[in-house]
């Protein structure tokens, strides 16, 4: 078989809904797009620990602190599941880290916004993880086996993240006027960036066509964004939070909410590195990696001393 026939065969497999496994033949572009998308996703999980890590020592109670710690630990786990998945595509963990630390790989723009108040822990769990769930539930049915399986695992854990965030906000909304304002202020800041998490509008999304054709993605960015809005607005109303969008309105005819325009200029600006926390996040990651170097060295030296260490091929 030549590559053209292989690609034909591959496309037929995709059309039949078959799952592609690491050793199966795949077009180079499929492999490249998956590496790009999955590594971006893994880096996001890892960077995602930073805005929340910021509040661990200042959580208002032991219960909240234990929960936040567990959530942040989950995010590390999610990063690891996805890194494992990307490695099956023939790129090493070290290369992935380096691409990220050298600024050649992206991560979700949402994590470049600062977490200014405790209410932001609520907004992140409810909105950011809520958006992630909408995305990941669909990715769990995608065509690449290792990615889909990582998503299944992540989705199970993400529901806890989502609900603990909502609980934080619901509690604040039952509190003092200041606490209610703190919750509302947080939603005002996180609502629009959360909508941007689904990526650029369909007409400006350069990778979508390929990813949809290969069933890595099953719905477009705009479709998923709409799904998130429809699901989230009633939850906001339930606890008296206002969505900061004057044009948001239920459209009975479409059976969806209409919403105002998203500020895409801001989105591209943050992606380019000009968000509030881009530099701080990258600095934190680089320092963590550099400061951990001696630990990796020591662990390996110890292992070699013990001998019979399996060496990576």
């Amino acid at each position: 078989m030549d590559d053209q026939q292989r690609e034909l065969h591959f496309n037929e497999r995709i059309a039949r809904g078959e799952v592609i496994e690491p050793k199966d033949w795949m077009p180079e572009r499929y492999r490249k797009q998956l590496i790009r998308m999955m590594s971006q996703h893994a880096h996001s999980e890892v960077v995602g620990m930073l805005p929340e890590g910021n509040w661990i020592t200042r959580a208002p109670s032991l219960r909240r602190k234990a929960v936040l710690l567990a959530k942040v630990q989950d995010e590390a786990g999610h990063g690891l599941y996805i890194y494992s998945g990307v490695e099956t595509l023939g790129i090493s963990r070290e290369e992935l880290y380096n691409e990220f630390l050298e600024g050649r790989a992206k991560y979700s723009s949402i994590f470049n916004y600062p977490t200014l108040t405790w209410a932001d822990m609520g907004a992140i769990g409810w909105l950011v993880d809520g958006a992630a769930i909408v995305n990941q539930t669909v990715l769990a049915k995608g065509s690449y086996g290792p990615y889909a399986r990582a998503m299944v695992r992540i989705c199970k854990e993400e529901n806890f993240h989502h609900k603990q965030g909502y609980e934080i906000l619901a509690t604040l909304m039952k509190g003092t006027k200041e606490q209610q304002e703190m919750a509302q202020d947080s939603i005002n800041r996180f609502w629009w960036p959360s909508l941007m998490m689904f990526g650029p509008p369909d007409k400006e999304s350069p990778n979508s066509a390929d990813l949809l054709r290969w069933k890595v993605k099953l719905y477009s960015n705009d479709e998923l964004r709409q799904r998130f809005i429809d699901r989230t607005v009633p939850q906001a109303e339930n606890i008296g939070l206002k969505i900061p969008d004057p044009l948001l309105k239920w459209n009975a005819e479409k059976d969806h909410y209409d919403h105002g325009d998203i500020n895409w200029e801001e989105f591209y600006n943050v992606i380019k590195g000009n968000g509030i926390c881009n530099k701080e996040r990258m600095k934190a990651r680089r320092e963590a990696h550099e400061n951990g170097a001696w630990v990796r060295e020591a662990a390996l030296a110890y292992a070699r001393k013990q001998e019979k260490v399996p060496m990576e091929a």
């Binding site: 490695e87 390996l300 990576e312």
Partner: protein
């Protein structure tokens, strides 16, 4: 693939979900040695009691069939329907 001195080796992780259940592949972890591999496997794959038992195996030690094997490697089983109980006629009897 790049490999420098400080790359931690890869281990495949198998979990047993409950007593008597088989060990199933869960994923993999990077770790310097056996002990670290077990601890990392616990932290990554059993934060919610998903496992009561863990195996970690150096990835290099695993020998796997390839997708191209799918036909010929497994076809000795294809023409032996008599290995299944429903191949046999057992008129009227209850089993």
């Amino acid at each position: 693939m790049s490999n420098t001195e400080n790359n931690l080796p890869l281990w495949e992780v198998f979990t047993q979900k409950k007593q008597g259940a088989p060990y199933e592949h869960a994923g993999n972890v990077h770790a310097a040695d056996k002990e670290m591999a077990l601890q990392n496997a616990r932290d990554v794959y059993s934060r919610r009691n998903e496992a009561i038992g863990l195996w970690v195996v150096p990835t290099d030690a695993i020998v796997a069939s390839t997708p191209e094997d799918m036909g010929p490697f497994f076809d000795p089983a294809n023409d032996k329907a008599y290995r299944h109980p429903n191949f046999f006629k057992t008129p009227g009897a209850k089993f």
